[in-house]
């Protein structure tokens, strides 16, 4: 039987993250060693732990239970234990025990460390883009923002709502904005683990100033009727958002939306 090896180090990318490298077969005989290692970590300051499982060839159900216990101890100290680089057969064991619903599993150490920045350092990521004021660009823009939300572990339902919000505001920005050649729509997104903030702005079309003055009429209710020629896009956005604001000026309109992440 191959020996079991466990080693603690700190992440090169982020020294605040502890890396636990595990190698060999994690059977019943390894539980004591795992417990001792994690007890040492729990007593320290660096309680965000990435278990690098790339060297693990076998994982017993008892070992999975022990890792769960270690994770609980880390959570009690506001830390976390995530797993990465699992071999297929090891991942299958985890899945069979439904433990994949408890542990966050990543492809590699770097992806797991990124989670630390995201979840624990409240890192905000920003995306800004500008596109010509034409409807044909809107699908690509809305799908990009949805994919960013999905990548940041927003639920698929939340990501769909975000896609709808971006789509409806961009459509309005194109429809009611200036059609002069060279005019553009600007999209800014700031996303963190708690919320996404979206700002979409255009250049005003002088002929549509009256619509903007009466914008509150379009926000009162998203309800549609058989007689409506147009949808109720902005009112729909308001319903899907946690915060919604429109800034009008002589030169343009900017719609600000905040959507809180669904846990």
């Amino acid at each position: 039987m191959k020996s079991f090896h466990i080693e603690i180090s700190e992440s090169k990318e982020c020294p605040d993250v502890t890396i636990v490298y595990l190698k060999g077969k994690m059977g019943h005989g390894t539980i004591k060693k795992i417990r001792e290692t994690f007890n040492t970590i729990v007593q320290g300051e660096k309680v965000f732990v990435v278990a690098d499982m790339s060297g693990v060839e076998y994982l017993s159900s008892a070992s999975v239970g022990e890792l769960m216990g270690c994770r609980t101890s880390l959570l009690e100290k506001d830390g976390e234990l995530v797993l990465c680089a699992l071999k297929l057969e090891v991942l299958e064991t985890l899945t069979a025990l439904d433990a994949d619903k408890i542990f966050k599993v990543y492809k590699d150490v770097r992806s797991a460390v990124n989670l630390y920045f995201w979840e624990f350092q409240n890192k905000v990521e920003r995306v800004s883009l500008t596109f010509p004021s034409q409807l044909s660009f809107v699908p690509a823009v809305r799908q990009l923002i949805r994919r960013i939300a999905e990548q940041k572990e927003y639920t698929s339902k939340d990501a769909f709502r975000i896609e709808t919000i971006v789509d409806e505001i961009c459509n309005n920005a194109v429809e009611h904005g200036s059609k002069t050649d060279g005019k553009e729509v600007q999209v800014s997104v700031a996303i963190d683990r708690h919320k996404i903030e979206i700002a979409i702005s255009n250049t005003s079309d002088p002929e549509k100033v009256e619509i903007l003055k009466n914008i509150s009429k379009y926000l009162s209710s998203p309800k549609i009727s058989f007689h409506d020629k147009r949808g109720r896009g902005l009112a729909l956005v308001k319903m899907l958002s946690n915060d919604f604001k429109i800034d009008n000026s002589d030169i343009g309109t900017c719609v600000h939306v905040t959507k809180i992440r669904e846990e």
């Binding site: 699908p139 698929s156 769909f160 896009g233």
Partner: protein, 117 residues
């Protein structure tokens, strides 16, 4: 760069003047016109009872919902119907917020929609 949408047609056994139309893709402001052309093409050719299968319709926005209401109204005015089956959870939420659940004929599945015509 329109969104991709494809409409696939299927006759309904023992139901003349009726068709299933399967919507595949996204329905939005960039492709509503082509969908309007296709559905009105069917209505104008005498297919007055249409069952829209939304199983593979991933996305719809307020503009798309507007034309669905238009189809429903137009089919009814001609003595037919425009019924919708298999709406996914995300699309259903948008239909609900827009207040169109009472205006559109929605069914959980195709069999239920077919039985109703």
């Amino acid at each position: 760069m329109k969104s991709q949408i494809e409409l696939k047609y299927e006759d309904i056994k023992d139901k003349t003047g009726a068709k299933i139309v399967r919507f595949v893709g996204d329905l939005d402001a960039t492709n509503v016109e082509s969908v309007v052309e296709e559905i009105f093409g069917l209505l104008n050719q005498g297919t007055l009872n249409i069952i829209a299968d939304f199983e593979k319709l991933r996305y719809v926005n307020s503009t798309g919902l507007g034309i669905l209401l238009h189809f429903s109204k137009s089919a009814k005015e001609r003595g037919g119907c425009f019924k919708i089956a298999n709406v996914n959870e995300n699309v259903y939420e948008i239909i609900e917020i827009i207040g169109a659940t009472t205006l559109l004929d929605l069914y959980d599945d195709l069999d239920e929609a077919i039985k109703s015509i």
